[in-house]
Symmetry: D2
Subunit: 301 residues, 4 copies
Amino acid sequence: MGSVTTTEPAVPDDRDAPAQPATEWVLALSCPDRPGIVHAVAGMLAAHDGNITESQQFGDPASGLFFMRVQVATTAGRAELEAALGPVAAEFGMTWSLDVVGRPMRTLILVSRAAHCLVDLLYRERYQDMPIDVVGVAGNHRDLQDLAAFYGKPFHHIPVTPDTKAVAESRLRDLVDELDVELVVLARYMQILSDDLCRDLAGRVINIHHSFLPSFKGARPYAQAHDRGVKLIGATSHYVTGDLDEGPIIEQDVERVDHSHAVADLVALGEDVERRTLARAVRWHAEHRVLLDGHRTVVFR
Amino acid sequence: MGSVTTTEPAVPDDRDAPAQPATEWVLALSCPDRPGIVHAVAGMLAAHDGNITESQQFGDPASGLFFMRVQVATTAGRAELEAALGPVAAEFGMTWSLDVVGRPMRTLILVSRAAHCLVDLLYRERYQDMPIDVVGVAGNHRDLQDLAAFYGKPFHHIPVTPDTKAVAESRLRDLVDELDVELVVLARYMQILSDDLCRDLAGRVINIHHSFLPSFKGARPYAQAHDRGVKLIGATSHYVTGDLDEGPIIEQDVERVDHSHAVADLVALGEDVERRTLARAVRWHAEHRVLLDGHRTVVFR
Amino acid sequence: MGSVTTTEPAVPDDRDAPAQPATEWVLALSCPDRPGIVHAVAGMLAAHDGNITESQQFGDPASGLFFMRVQVATTAGRAELEAALGPVAAEFGMTWSLDVVGRPMRTLILVSRAAHCLVDLLYRERYQDMPIDVVGVAGNHRDLQDLAAFYGKPFHHIPVTPDTKAVAESRLRDLVDELDVELVVLARYMQILSDDLCRDLAGRVINIHHSFLPSFKGARPYAQAHDRGVKLIGATSHYVTGDLDEGPIIEQDVERVDHSHAVADLVALGEDVERRTLARAVRWHAEHRVLLDGHRTVVFR
Amino acid sequence: MGSVTTTEPAVPDDRDAPAQPATEWVLALSCPDRPGIVHAVAGMLAAHDGNITESQQFGDPASGLFFMRVQVATTAGRAELEAALGPVAAEFGMTWSLDVVGRPMRTLILVSRAAHCLVDLLYRERYQDMPIDVVGVAGNHRDLQDLAAFYGKPFHHIPVTPDTKAVAESRLRDLVDELDVELVVLARYMQILSDDLCRDLAGRVINIHHSFLPSFKGARPYAQAHDRGVKLIGATSHYVTGDLDEGPIIEQDVERVDHSHAVADLVALGEDVERRTLARAVRWHAEHRVLLDGHRTVVFR
């Protein structure tokens, strides 16, 4: 069974469906590199009248791993495809996921007080084609409750103090379970998740770090950047691991600044680059374009 | 037989070669879209112990064409691969090219007086990994003869006047034939090629237009841009067709400008964006990353 | 008297104010170029204990005009500064505006159905430091009424049909008057303003055009761009004049696209570049950084 | 006397010159911030019929310093201007430089084996409007001797070994003196200058660091960047101080990369961003656009 998305409750089992129009599926996989992988996968898809509309492959000489993402239109249903994929995956030792193209990924957004990333994600869900289904917003402050409400999202206030940290995290775990959450987005959530939680949700939590990592790790990066007199500020979106600010990078971007910008200006400009960097990372993840290659990522844009 | 590179004199025929280390080949193809293409190609490669290291596919819903570029490591030689590819290509009606990854493409550069594009291409051939072999430089002026000489390139002075235009073009054709030229680069060559020549060299001539097409077609684009008060200037690299400035676009880029820039400043800034836009287009073409999709291009970067 | 902002009701007349902390003012001006302008202005400011914190000047050789924007901290009030500026302005034939740094500019936003620009401007007013005070939103459709309501903005539904165009425009004029509007932003407003209205509001109406002008003027620019196979899409923010799509350009930006993007993808990517291009233009205008130089602009960023 | 450019042998003393056309001068200065600076400078210039064509000012609240760069057209000669400027400079405690706009700055370029930065600077001197006069190229290897020769530049081979480091540096000092060098550019020069030399040439040595500082300081930054899986690589041009890689930053830029780029690809892409970042820094310095503000820079672009 695939690794990244293990449950897709929104997708019906098409096993017994009658003749129907083709559905477009996205298959993402990785495995040790060796000859014959593409042929095996393409053969399996061809056997189900699959028409490949878009596909990318990459073999990493450093890790010895092979990565593939393929979009295929076929009348075959999930069960049929999974049954056909099973032996191929077993033969090559594949980690894989299979999803319907464009299916919204069930997403929980964690916030604190800063609005810019939440504003942007909710806007993109409602008005644009971002394939996420934000099933809830959780905040350790109430500042953004009205924003969530405007977009019709349940807001969960989970305050965090040194004493209540364990309780708060337990509530987060419950939310993830109850809401059947596939993806957790830390949209400038200013609390640090425990190592245990990071491990349990590995590959399913995306953070936005307000710096061009690995520059200016840690607190107050814009003040550090101002003091150093940099001419570009950046942001980094990455998967969260126990090792803070060191998880696999998904996307980075920068904005030009100059001497006339005070720290507050850098913060304001930084919000723009943060939100667009995070939005791209979330979109690519939700479209199954991001595959893990050790502590690096392969991003099939 | 493939369409883009029909002759590769620098690549030996490996037909009778003994067991040898794997060579990395690049196969680029297009054909009408239908199920089974990837499977057929991958199967053919797998049958020759080919290991796919990088691959991209794209099906264009608008044109109904399918495009594929695959890099594959195999001990099979050219003759063997061509023999295996033949039936597959016939079955699917493919246009294709097969080349050794990194083989320098035999290139003729046409210039007038402006140096920036020629400087950049010759630098990239000598000092970087640009896979071109500049077999000659032809200019309608002698200004850049010394630059060509420094890089050890034969310079052909082919003056063009209204009266000698036909003769000059005939000399260009002779050069292309004698030097076995695969690619002609118009590096700010200020003469217009005849429709006949454009047609005969279709898909093998790349131009750099000093504007962000389709803005400011025609003469003096920087003066036009200045007059219009634009905030970005651009450059466009495209294949040359008889329809001036309307050939398939390969690459575009821009540079930020402001009110303080006079026309001369725009020209100077424009030279930077022109040379990097042209360099990318030439590199991608030489790496067989650019495929024609009607009057558009598919670029597998 | 100054040209751009002739009324600033939110700013009290400080004539009789007692000793007070310094206020930071922004003075923007243009006049025919000749020696002595900076000296005269700086002298007037120095005579009022003004401390210049930021200043930019530019003399345009093409138009023969001189432009200046200066931020100055002083305890002098508006009346005192205007009285001192009067003779200088008269001597040099200046067009000028004087405002308190950061004072929000009274802004009316016109919309149709597309949300992205309105979302962004309202977000920037509430959560960021954009110095605008959106006093109303007017739409020829009701689609964005709820969004305006969330941000606490009165929404004026002004439908436009061929028959009601004159009436609708009359209502717009009334709104501008009643709300004491300084700036009108066409945030993807899909109706064309009459020449009369454009003339009457000259220099006070900013539009976002969903194209990199002067490419793809007119309707359906993304379809045009897709058909042409461009590798960058852009947006242009400009002052509105009677000559459609030809007003003075304030800001332009682009986004990279490739062959895999359908027209709908270009539209979605275009929304990002449109909203950030418009946001910058509005901010710079509201900060008195944009000065008119014939049909071009001087932007002191 | 001004601090940055103390000798300008190419500029004649205009003291006794008869009536003549106006020359355009650039005056760059910094001093403790207080009211009246602009007025004093503008008054001095107006008294000599100076017409200000371009000017920028900035007061840094953090350092309490004021910075100004002004281009002024006047028939007054250097001696006259210096005599007039003296009292103003004394009154405000100014550090300043005065130069003719566009006068080429006498520049020594230090290189090792990598060609890209030297190629670019020599190209820009000959073919573009970069205001530098490269009076010599010094290398600790001979690899780039022919390139220097093509551009007609004397090449000084100064090998450096642990034993000869002091001797080599002494030869560099002699070159700087003998050639009347105003600016030293480390164009991927792989030797570290001594603290003494850095101090003696403070503000006159520009380096290009092949990283987006402060990320990946030290050796092999591209290998570090690849290992970290970054999505952007950058370059930083900065003044050299004794504190390696920590001098005031003049310019930074980045280039987008992805998973498919091996370390060698990053190096090649890095060369492009290095050379354009260095070229901008050198141009701005040569145009007196860069002023020191402690360990930060003010860049009046």
